[in-house]
């Protein structure tokens, strides 16, 4: 009988009221309540509190909460677009865009610097030192076979480039073929400038586009 004399806790009484105890618990609680005046009173007062809440009348609506049809049509696509990009993905995309923008600016600067440097040296070599220019061209021509025989791929384009960039004032030949080949050549300052601008613009767009969301949806 010691089990029956233990009073039920408020939580047990509350769950008993809602039928949320397991069936053996429910039976045991019922037995105890029948034999215990204190628990019976406690249960009754709890039941009355619940009844008061239950008797609260429904509130009149101040207005209808339907959504305006035109507003809804603008809401959905935006939310769908945002839902496809959860927080972490947005953040990493933003980081990548930022990096791209920084690399772009770096290319832009280095392209600009080398472009102005080369422009100056070309001015100098064509204007003031015609003799030394012919010397360097001869030595460059002498050097060209070497990379081919050693089959050293990385050095070949750079050597050709130095050879040809020093040439323009004297020889006309490199113009069309060279510009086509160098289209993907980042060593060319002009290309570097172009790629730099492109990266900076795309990166900047990415950074603004993937701004972290201020409001979280539930």
């Amino acid at each position: 009988m010691t089990h029956d004399t233990r009073h039920l806790t408020t939580e047990e009484l509350s769950a008993y009221l809602d039928g949320e105890l397991t069936s053996p618990e429910q039976d045991e609680a019922e037995r105890h309540i029948q034999s215990c005046e204190d628990c019976r009173q406690s249960l009754e007062s709890l039941r009355q509190t619940v009844a008061l809440l239950h008797d609260l009348p429904p509130l009149p609506l101040p207005r209808s909460f339907t959504l305006p049809v035109e507003e809804g049509s603008t809401v959905t696509p935006v939310s769908k677009h945002k839902r496809h990009l959860p927080g972490p993905l947005r953040r990493s995309l933003r980081l990548i865009s930022g990096l791209a923008a920084v690399i772009g600016i770096f290319f832009l600067l280095s392209g600009f610097l080398t472009f102005t440097q080369q422009h100056n040296s070309v001015m100098l070599s064509s204007g003031e030192r015609p003799a030394s220019q012919s010397d360097s061209s001869q030595s460059a021509e002498a050097n060209t076979p070497q990379p081919v025989t050693t089959n050293n791929k990385p050095t070949t384009p750079s050597l050709k480039k130095t050879q040809e960039t020093t040439h323009p004032p004297q020889t006309q030949e490199p113009a069309p073929g060279f510009s086509l080949l160098s289209f993907l050549n980042l060593n060319t300052p002009g290309i570097r400038l172009g790629v730099g601008i492109l990266l900076a613009i795309l990166g900047g767009m990415g950074v603004t586009l993937f701004k972290p969301r201020t409001r979280g949806s539930p």
């Binding site: 406690s42 009348p57 339907t66 959504l67 809401v75 959905t76 769908k80 949806s217 539930p218």
Partner: protein, 210 residues
């Protein structure tokens, strides 16, 4: 809810998930009474409750694709509504100068008028229904406001809105054990609060003070 009604609701939810606002508005019409009433009981102010309810339905429409078919739609809606209501309550608590007046129980100017007009309209509709006095309704509302937020939400969803423990667990993202304990503690505190105002309680209600 009957089988055809749940099937109808399932179709409306599916259409809403494809961006159909009119279908979603059908759901709003079904649940606005539930949502507004729950939010009002949590916050105690008609104007604020209306704003929060509107925001809740807008958020619900935006997030409708995250609703899992087969689970309780009203629990899902009330999760959004109660989250927004709790956010609002906490915001007001943090910045009491801005709008605490709106939510303090003593001088909530809208609630009494609203409740007063309500009683008469209800009596006209159904004179046999047991109608609580206006003072008692206000007292209960004040008692709810005294409860900690999590207990208040659990008691409102259970005893006023009639949700099951499972639905409340879903709506509050808590375990069943937590829900059970919150409901019990909330009811017990409310009982103590009400028993301090016995003079307002109907003769049939005899709350023992524990």
């Amino acid at each position: 809810m009957s089988r055809s009604a749940t099937e109808d609701e399932r179709l409306l939810i599916a259409r809403s998930q494809r961006g159909d606002v009119q279908a979603f508005n059908q759901l709003v019409l079904r649940y606005q009474q539930l949502m507004y009433s729950a939010v009002f009981r949590m916050l105690g102010n008609a104007e604020v409750a209306a704003d929060v309810t509107q925001e809740a339905f807008l958020s619900a429409f935006r997030a409708i694709s995250t609703f899992r078919p087969g689970s309780s739609f009203r629990a899902w809606l009330l999760r959004i509504g109660s989250n927004l209501a709790c956010d609002h309550w906490r915001r007001v608590q943090r910045h009491p100068t801005t709008s605490l007046d709106e939510l303090t129980e003593e001088d909530a100017p809208h609630a009494p008028e609203q409740l007063g007009s309500l009683i008469t309209s209800r009596q006209e509709e159904n004179p046999e229904a047991h109608v609580l006095s206006r003072e008692l309704q206000e007292l209960i509302q004040q008692g709810l406001a005294q409860l900690p937020l999590d207990q208040r939400v659990a008691v409102i969803l259970c005893d006023i809105q009639g949700l099951s423990y499972d639905e409340i667990a879903e709506a509050t993202q808590a375990t069943l054990g937590t829900v059970r304990s919150r409901i019990a503690r909330g009811r017990s505190k409310l009982r103590s609060y009400l028993s301090q105002h016995r003079e307002l309680l109907p003769g049939t209600y005899r709350l023992s003070n524990e």
